[in-house]
């Protein structure tokens, strides 16, 4: 089992003829993801990596029965592309595009809700269910099938930690990069709920960072609702207030959103927080050993 993507995922790529879209279509396809089509207005009839291109998501869905979409279009057009997928009945949209204006995301949120569309991102590396489906730009070689769920606000830090997990023989059910923007789709709690209900996931690793109060709320949720162990790491302990650390969402504003507050909240909820990524496998081992007693 897994969450969100698996062998039944039928993926279309919006922006398939662009540089990034084309490149990652090749990598996802090579991994075994079932890519059924691509969208690029004006290019219907062409193929990319042997995959048929359509003028619209609607056409692609009609012809292929796609249920998931990944978006590589430039930031200025990303919100439109997300809505196009939603209106065409796509159930899960993964937006890789970086630099999408916050107002655009706020404007489309109620429509996604009304259509029942799940969104991951924008500004995210996507997700992977090892051995089944890669919907994103994550480097496939570091992942391994297993039973740890993984959620992260960051990209390369995800690779760093997943690599450590894999080296320590902790394979993964599904790894999700939720992205670093202040207003994004599925967040920690939405995904923890899914991991809690996934019979194959035995524990979750969660990578947070400074900014906002999602980690604090998540800690509360874990305390009240999670039976499976969670281990965390928070990036940005040395970040100065008022400076945006690369991600639009990673900023300490007016003293709130600091790493200290987030770590304290997790500790109160019984979630161990690693001092450095290398400590995560050890904390996970301890938590799981505790369960068996």
């Amino acid at each position: 089992m897994s969450i969100l993507v698996n062998k039944d995922t039928k993926l279309i790529v919006q922006g398939i003829t662009g540089r990034d879209g084309k490149f990652h279509t090749g990598l996802m396809s090579k991994y075994g993801t079932n890519i059924v089509g691509g969208v690029s207005p004006g290019k219907e009839g062409e193929t990319v990596e042997g995959i048929p291109v359509f003028n619209s998501v609607e056409n692609a869905v009609k012809a292929t029965g796609a249920n998931t979409s990944i978006i590589f279009v430039p930031a200025a057009y990303a919100a439109d592309a997300i809505l196009e997928a939603s209106e065409a009945g796509i159930q899960l949209v993964v937006a890789i595009s970086e630099g999408v204006p916050v107002q655009d995301m706020i404007r489309i949120t109620p429509i996604l809700k009304q259509n029942g569309t799940l969104l991951i991102g924008p500004n995210c590396p996507g997700l992977i269910t090892p051995g089944q489906s890669l919907v994103g730009i994550l480097p496939a070689m570091i992942f391994k099938e297993g039973n740890i769920g993984f959620i992260s606000r960051s990209g390369t830090l995800t690779y760093e930690v997943v690599n450590l997990l894999t080296l320590n023989d902790f394979g993964q059910t599904t790894c999700v990069g939720i992205g670093g923007d202040p207003v994004a789709g599925l967040y920690f709690i939405d995904l923890l709920e899914r991991f809690e209900n996934d019979p194959d996931t035995i524990a979750v690793v969660l990578i947070g960072e400074i900014g906002g109060d999602a980690e604090e709320q998540t800690a509360q949720f874990i305390h009240e609702k999670m039976t499976k162990p969670v281990v965390a790491f928070i990036a940005g302990q040395t970040a100065p207030p008022g400076k945006r650390m690369g991600h639009a969402g990673a900023i300490i504003s007016s003293g709130s959103g600091t790493a200290e507050e987030k770590i304290a909240a997790f500790n109160r909820a019984g979630v161990p927080v690693a001092k450095e990524p290398a400590e995560i496998p050890e904390l996970l081992r301890k938590k799981l050993a505790g369960l068996k007693k």
Binding site: V100, M105, T156, Y159, A278
Partner: protein, 378 residues
């Protein structure tokens, strides 16, 4: 992106929000002329891109021209939290009956623009939020309808308790929401919004920040940018596809990805060192980026050692290695460099670096410890 109070007031004016008359001054002479022209009690206010101006003595009331001149002399050139005051705003002083707070911001939790309002105006709203959270009204706005007239009226009524005052305040709220949306703001606040002794409602102080991701479609806002030296450095780095923030430490870091870059800074701190910067070279593997990044790092005189931490995904480690070799040929530095390459094409990258004799390590913990050790030599 931040703007000054005088610029926020200009935007407010353009949208019809009442603000007292004011004149921007760069010299004491200009302050004198402004006070004479306004010909009333004035307030002289430092224009710097930081909060806490009042507490630092950067806002002073002047009863006459002489007092305005004295205030101008004191404030112009003073230092507020590391910012030198280069200009002041001289405004008409208002007779305040009561002060309020109103503001709009993006709320991550409700994924909406949220109106915040409080009858506790004039003080820092973050303080009120911490000590008396019940005194702040938070109202998420449906993006499909915007702030509706009746909603604005009801919230204003909760603050003012008098329908005629509330109607004036509601008109201001509606305008503030409109300008918030139309300028892609991330914060638009009036603090204080005041009720005057003659029953007018006025915006006395304004603060606005904007979404950097939306500046491409906000040319008028972008034209208001007044970056300081540090921000100029950050903007220059951005134009090269790098994300750079200068810090106070002595270990320069070059990392791919914002999260990993933050974690790298944390590692350096954890092992007893101090990072000189945040630097994310982003996702592509263009060797030129590595050269540009090395230029920035070595341009910081505080840097005593450099830690390069790359986890290759889309970024290919051999490309980073090539860029680094080129950079070192051009830059010829004595500063010690530690390199950690992992992930895509790491073996190829490490093989290339072998010839340079740069120390390479396999984990980021090791890299941080090695960089700290090297920074202490000499």
């Amino acid at each position: 992106m931040k703007i000054h109070e005088y610029q926020a007031r200009q935007i407010f004016r353009n949208y019809g929000i009442p603000v007292p008359d004011g004149i921007l001054c760069y010299t004491v002479r200009e302050v004198e002329n402004a006070a004479r022209e306004l010909n009333c009690m004035t307030v002289v206010k430092a224009q710097v891109l930081t909060g806490g101006r009042g507490k630092s003595g950067g806002v002073k009331l002047a009863r006459n021209v002489e007092e305005a001149v004295t205030a101008g002399k004191q404030i112009l050139g003073m230092d507020i939290k590391g910012f030198t005051v280069e200009k002041v705003l001289v405004t008409k002083a208002a007779d305040i009956e009561k002060e309020f707070y109103v503001g709009f911001t993006n709320d991550r939790n409700t994924k909406s623009v949220t109106l915040m309002a409080s009858a506790e105006g004039g003080v820092e709203i973050e303080e009120v939020a911490k000590t008396n959270p019940e005194k702040i009204i938070k109202y998420p706005i449906n993006p499909l309808t915007g702030l509706l007239d009746f909603q604005a009226r009801n919230i204003a009524m909760q603050l003012f308790g008098n329908i005629s005052h509330a109607q004036k305040a509601a008109a201001i709220l509606t305008k503030l929401y409109k300008l918030y949306i139309e300028t892609d703001a991330t914060l638009a606040e009036i603090n204080p919004l005041i009720l005057t002794t003659d029953n007018e409602v006025l915006a006395i102080d304004g603060k606005m920040t904007f979404d950097d991701n939306a500046l491409y479609r906000q040319p008028k806002i972008l034209a208001m940018r007044e970056p300081d030296a540090e921000e100029l450095q950050e903007i220059a780095a951005n134009e090269k596809g790098l994300s750079y923030i200068k810090l106070d430490g002595n270990i320069g870091c070059m990392v791919n990805g914002a999260g990993l870059a933050m974690a790298t800074m944390d590692m350096i701190k954890l092992y007893g060192g101090s990072p000189a910067n945040f630097l994310d070279i982003g996702g592509s593997s263009n060797p030129q980026k590595v050269i540009d990044a090395m230029n920035i790092l070595l341009g910081d005189k505080n840097v005593k050692a450099v830690m390069i931490n790359i986890f290759g995904g889309i970024t290919r480690c051999d490309d980073v290695a090539k860029g680094l070799i080129k950079a070192l040929e051009v830059l010829m530095t004595e500063i010690p460099i530690v390199v950690r390459l992992s992930g895509t094409n790491a073996a190829e990258g490490l093989a290339l670096l072998k010839e340079t004799g740069l120390p390479t390590v396999s984990s980021m913990s090791e890299a941080a410890q090695k960089a700290i050790e090297l920074s202490k030599h000499k």
